[in-house]
């Protein structure tokens, strides 16, 4: 791999950028791999990367039916934070946060991880109680969290309308929160994994699993049979489809979730702002677009587009909270499919099929977890036992009732 740096950039400029290498190879699939990862999103790519880097398993293939990062990786609003309520959630998201903080250097690929700070606004007494509880919990878990007064919020975001419907009563700030360049995360992991020998195979759709006596032996794909000692499935919104192929059910519902961007502007929004009560979240990309999102559609669907109805529910709050947006224009609206569990926490799990592992259920908030998710999933696959941070997220919790209910408890958008 030729290293990226300002020097390599200058050097290559001299040769008109004609000597850059491929960021990753496009090999034909081998007959068999130690581990096959199904799904070339950032979680799958991260899994392969950490398998190679930390677990010494490099005979790995990633099978992607379309293009790398084409699912929720390339469709989300790129928010990164680790200020979750429950200890189990704190552990995995903070694990991710620590990896984020060195990710560009680790991958030698600038993922533009920007710790610009993330504000959760509180608009009523219930919100204040919620951030009070979560703020304390995060703090006592050793993660940064601060309570802000409305005046402090205004100082950070001068364009906010504090006296909006449900006036801003306070906020929870995580200074280490922020955003990252989503595509770069997929590409950076792909390049670094490829460099360690991982085969990245795009346009290769998994059509079935080769399961013998309850043990997975390989996958059937649009490019033929590929043997696998272990299989990790990381297919987000299509995980229940995959589970169905493997002969069991995955407790997920798939919903369209949408986001939108404005035309690009000079810097005007400084942090990531999330509001549960007015129900919108907002940040500004490095390119200058306001990136706006909110809730998922109210019906299940595999259609990768959001309904207009929900867009309506996003724009009203946006204008209410940030009145200056009234004359700005929405440039693009899109959608993805989120895989939602009943407790709004992910599933990282062994399955009824031996040597087959699933990592899914990240719902509306998977992007921020990418490095942590990939990391603990890699270790879980390598060891055949769930990593301690992953262990609470086993699908067995839906049998025991040991739910990690971020949805019910926090009632905030992820």
């Amino acid at each position: 791999m030729n290293k990226y740096s300002v020097f390599s950039l200058v050097r290559n400029a001299m040769s008109y950028h004609e000597n850059w290498q491929k960021a990753w190879r496009s090999p034909d699939p081998k007959k068999e791999y130690d581990v096959v990862i199904v799904g070339g999103g950032a979680h799958g790519l991260a899994t392969a990367y950490y398998l190679a880097k930390e677990c010494g398993i490099t005979n790995v293939a990633i099978l992607e039916k379309g293009w790398l990062g084409g699912g929720n990786t390339g469709r989300n609003t790129t928010i990164v934070r680790s200020n979750y309520l429950w200890d189990e959630s704190s552990a995995i998201y903070e694990h991710a946060m620590k990896l984020w903080e060195n990710l560009s250097q680790d991958l030698n690929y600038n993922v533009m991880f920007s710790q610009r700070g993330l504000l959760h606004l509180a608009h009523n007494v219930h919100d204040m109680q919620e951030i009070g509880r979560r703020g304390h919990a995060i703090h006592l878990n050793g993660i940064d969290s601060e309570f802000l007064t409305p005046e402090q919020v205004k100082e950070i975001e001068p364009t906010i309308n504090l006296d909006c419907r449900y006036p801003v009563l306070g906020a929870l700030l995580q200074r280490r929160g922020g955003s990252a360049r989503h595509d770069a995360v997929a590409w950076g992991y792909a390049r670094a994994a490829d460099d360690m020998g991982v085969d990245i195979i795009q346009n290769c759709e998994v059509t079935g699993f080769d399961i013998q006596d309850g043990v997975v032996k390989g996958v059937e794909t649009s490019r033929g049979h590929i043997g696998a000692k272990k299989v990790g499935v990381v297919t987000a919104g299509h995980s229940s489809v995959m589970a169905n192929m493997a002969g069991f059910r995955m407790p997920l519902e798939s919903f369209p979730l949408q986001a939108m961007v404005s035309e690009p502007l000079k810097p005007v929004i400084n942090t990531v702002i999330m509001s549960g009560a007015v129900h919108v979240y907002l940040s500004q990309s490095d390119k200058g677009e306001l990136v706006v999102g909110a809730g998922s559609d109210n019906f299940v669907s595999y259609s990768q587009r959001g309904s207009f109805d929900m867009m309506d529910h996003i724009v009203g709050p946006l204008k209410e909270l940030f009145p200056f947006t009234s004359r700005l224009r929405m440039m693009r609206q899109w959608g993805g499919i989120v895989d939602v569990t009943v407790d709004r926490s992910p599933i990282i799990t062994k399955t009824p099929v031996e040597n087959m592992f699933f990592n899914c259920g990240w719902g509306t908030g998977g992007f921020k977890a990418t490095p942590g998710s990939g990391n603990v999933f890699a270790h879980s696959i390598a060891n055949g036992e769930l990593h301690p941070i992953a262990a609470p997220f086993t699908m067995n919790r839906f049998n025991t009732g040991a739910l990690i209910d971020e949805g019910a408890a926090a009632a905030v958008a992820h």
Partner: protein, 1007 residues
Amino acid sequence: MSQSNRIKTGGRIDRNKPVSFTFDGKTFQGFEGDTLASALLANNVHLMGRSFKYHRPRGVLSAGSEEPNAIVTIGSGKRSDPNTRATVVEMFDGLEASSQNCWPSLNFDIGGINNKLSRFFPAGFYYKTFMWPKSMWMKYEEIIRASAGMGVAPEEGDPDTYAVKHEYCDVLIAGGGPAGLSAALTAGRTGARVILIDEQNEFGGSLLSDHGAEIDGKPAMDWVDAALAELKEMEEVTILNRTAVIGYFDHNFITAMEKITDHLGPQDSNDTPRQRFWKIRAKQVVLASGSFERPMLFGDNDRPGVMLASAVRTYINRYGVLPGKDMVVFTNNDSAYKTALDAFANGGRVEIVDTRVDPKGPLVEQARSLDITIHTNAAIVGTKGYRRLKGVEVMELNEAGDGVKGTKFHIGCDVVAMSSGWNPAVNLFSQARGKLRYDEELTSFVPDHCQWDNYSVGSCNGTFTLEGALSEGLEAGLKAAQAAGFGEGQSVPATPSAPEVEHGDMRTLWYIPMDRPLARGKKHFHEFQNDSTVADIHLAAREGYISVEHLKRYTTTGMGTDQGKTSNVNAIAIMAQIRGVSIPQVGTTTFRPPFVPVTFGAIAGHDVEDLFLQARKTPMHSAHDRNGAIYEDVGDWKRPYYFPKAGEDMHAAVQRECKAVRDSVGIMDGSTLGKLDIQGKDASRLLNLLYTNAWSKLAPGKCRYGLMCNEHGMVFDDGVTTCIGENHYHMTTTTGGAGRVANWIEEWIQTEYPDWDVYATSVTEQWAVSILNGPKSRKVLEKLVDIDLSAEAFPFMAMKECHIAGVPARIYRISFTGELSYEINVPARYGLHVWDALLEAGEEFDICQYGTETMHVLRAEKGFIIAGQDTDGSVTPMDLDMDWIVSKKKGDFLGRRSFTRTDTARTDRKQLVGVLTEDPNVVLMEGAHLVRELKDKPPMDMLGHVTSSYMSPNCGRSIAMALIRDGKNLKGQSFMVPTMSGKAHKVTITDPIFFDKENKRIDGEPS
């Protein structure tokens, strides 16, 4: 010189209405009917903006909404509209425009240094650098952010208003050119409800720009006028100009945005909305959205003065502007010859550079006959000029078209009119998830099939002849109407004659070669706004970003405000060439709404300010206003939080209110509580399903408290339900949970038990509820009612129907404070009357109005929970020490199956307990946590959190409730509660009932 490029006559501008406008502070003249772009061009101003990344000077490329270059800010201050395309801004007197993304000025822009250094800034350069030292990234990013972006956000306080309109129609027609108008005619003639929409101020589409087109032997615009006149006479036809169809969603749900006053300039009053957002459900849709011309990708093809050939023709014929005196037309097809001929006819000096070896056809012959020089088998390989085009360099092409030969020669010119063919505007069709097909002959994507009922007609369907467009439109309009149930038996009228001169074949060269390798000295822009070049596509391919989506995301192709209308197909074709695959193999990216950018204000429409999530107010709200209430937002409701007297802060008011209720009598407004009227033979069956306790034996006139659990056995709401009569119940829920419970009930009775005879109707707003609380409640109430209120005649947990102050009422003897309490329900319209009557009757007892905070304190003194505050979706009834409410005998109910799950059945779960601080004056922060062991700094092992915490005047100290791991077993033990500031409070875990543990006060003082 003023309007030096204005042609003496012609055009659709109103020369009787001169207007004056400014661009970057300098005043210019134009006419009504101009766009900002045409008026600037008339004044020989081509430089209108700077590009995003390299800050290169840019002029206008197009004459429509696909414009990537001429992006300006209109207006200023609160009425500033950044990122506006000069090509769609209609001229009005006093218009104020300014350039963006440049400093200190458009002419001299420091950012232009990026262009000098552009060699170091290829596509995706930022992924490869800015990583060292790590700590510097946030600084680098700040610089990147400052230099990115385009316009500056307007000031807060948009003075304009916006409207939203919902509409239904049989046939919606998007586009009012010849094809769309034809469709409207045949559809309209059937009597079907038709909506005809066009983005422009005038109907006619391409005909507006066409000089000499004829229909039935007359000027084509005569036909347009006649068609419009006929349509205007049709009652069921709605005609919307200045309206862009922007979204095509499932089931033919169409959104459109109408500009109402933008072309008039700022309005003094906002009686008229600035823009109107249309939401239209159409049975059938006809797409007649036209096509976009493709730019030629030659070296430095972005100089101000390089324009699309069709745009030049539009400026000449529609706006009476010859953009330059010396024009080079650069084309691979015949259509651009029309531009050459029109320019020539208006006094322009014209030369043609044609990639084709031997162009033939009537248009070519006509040019030849006028002695217009045609350089065949030739290409522009470079341009001269920086802020304005000064000339082009031309060379002969080789046979394959992938290289040049011979001697380079120079043609001086100030305008290049280029055409590389046409792309049907398939955007809306694709938004509808229609599938595209690649047409080899047209070298473009055309509509193939779609699951929704629509018809593509005219050039958006790849039909580029006028007669073809008319014919397709007439047929589709009738078909669509017939599919919607109109015009049975009608047949398609004959297509008017519109002879078109024959066009010769194209010679499509996606990349125009030059006399040196790619990327040496000159840039071939395919994506103008974001400065993405052919070399960038090669780089992307070289590095493996070959999927069309990777191409887009790596090079930012199609990510500008024009969303790739002029760039995408060219980029795809170049990638196909590099990869050696066909264009359809590369494929397109997904077309997304909106077709053109739309203001957030228009989408939000009326639902802003007071109409945004309208506040719900109880029937007694005016009394609360009068009595000085401070409000709390609960759900959408405004509830009195407390009623301060002069000089009181919240604390003082609440302490006084709490005392007054327990000492004498208080009154609160309980109207917001969720209320459901439940009727039907299976009503009690439903209650047994929803609640954890048994309901079969509740007698009429009796009340019972219940907890509702979700499937996981977790409490999610509570309330009192009363049997009104046989198969008839009145259910109450929490204020915030009312909607949730109603939906929950519907989900179960609609999806799981549709055979049950039970109906739940929300009656929250039908009843006004005044709640009397305190030992003297009976004394107040008895002055106003016609029933016996003694504890024997009207015991706790009973309901009586009676009259109060002359109006019918249902009075519930239930209590959320432990005091004698009456919840007086009257029809909403009597609420205020009864409230005032109670206040008057209570005057002699110093009746105290109190708000929600006092209610919170009083119930906490008694250890009563608030669902949603003391529970959080992870708490079972057993965790609340309410095992008694979970029936062991009755059959299945929601949540029951989960109580036996291993984790749910644990006995050391988080449980509700009381918490008392060592210092009675310390009120813990709600949300603070108890820790097993206090440490110097986190992390610390948390036992659980404080859910409710108050200063209780009746207990004379602070009290709190908490959810604590294994809490029931920790009673009596002490722990620490650290605060965020580093302090800590010592607390003891107790029983959660702090006041009147023996429940002695429930019957109050006897009368």
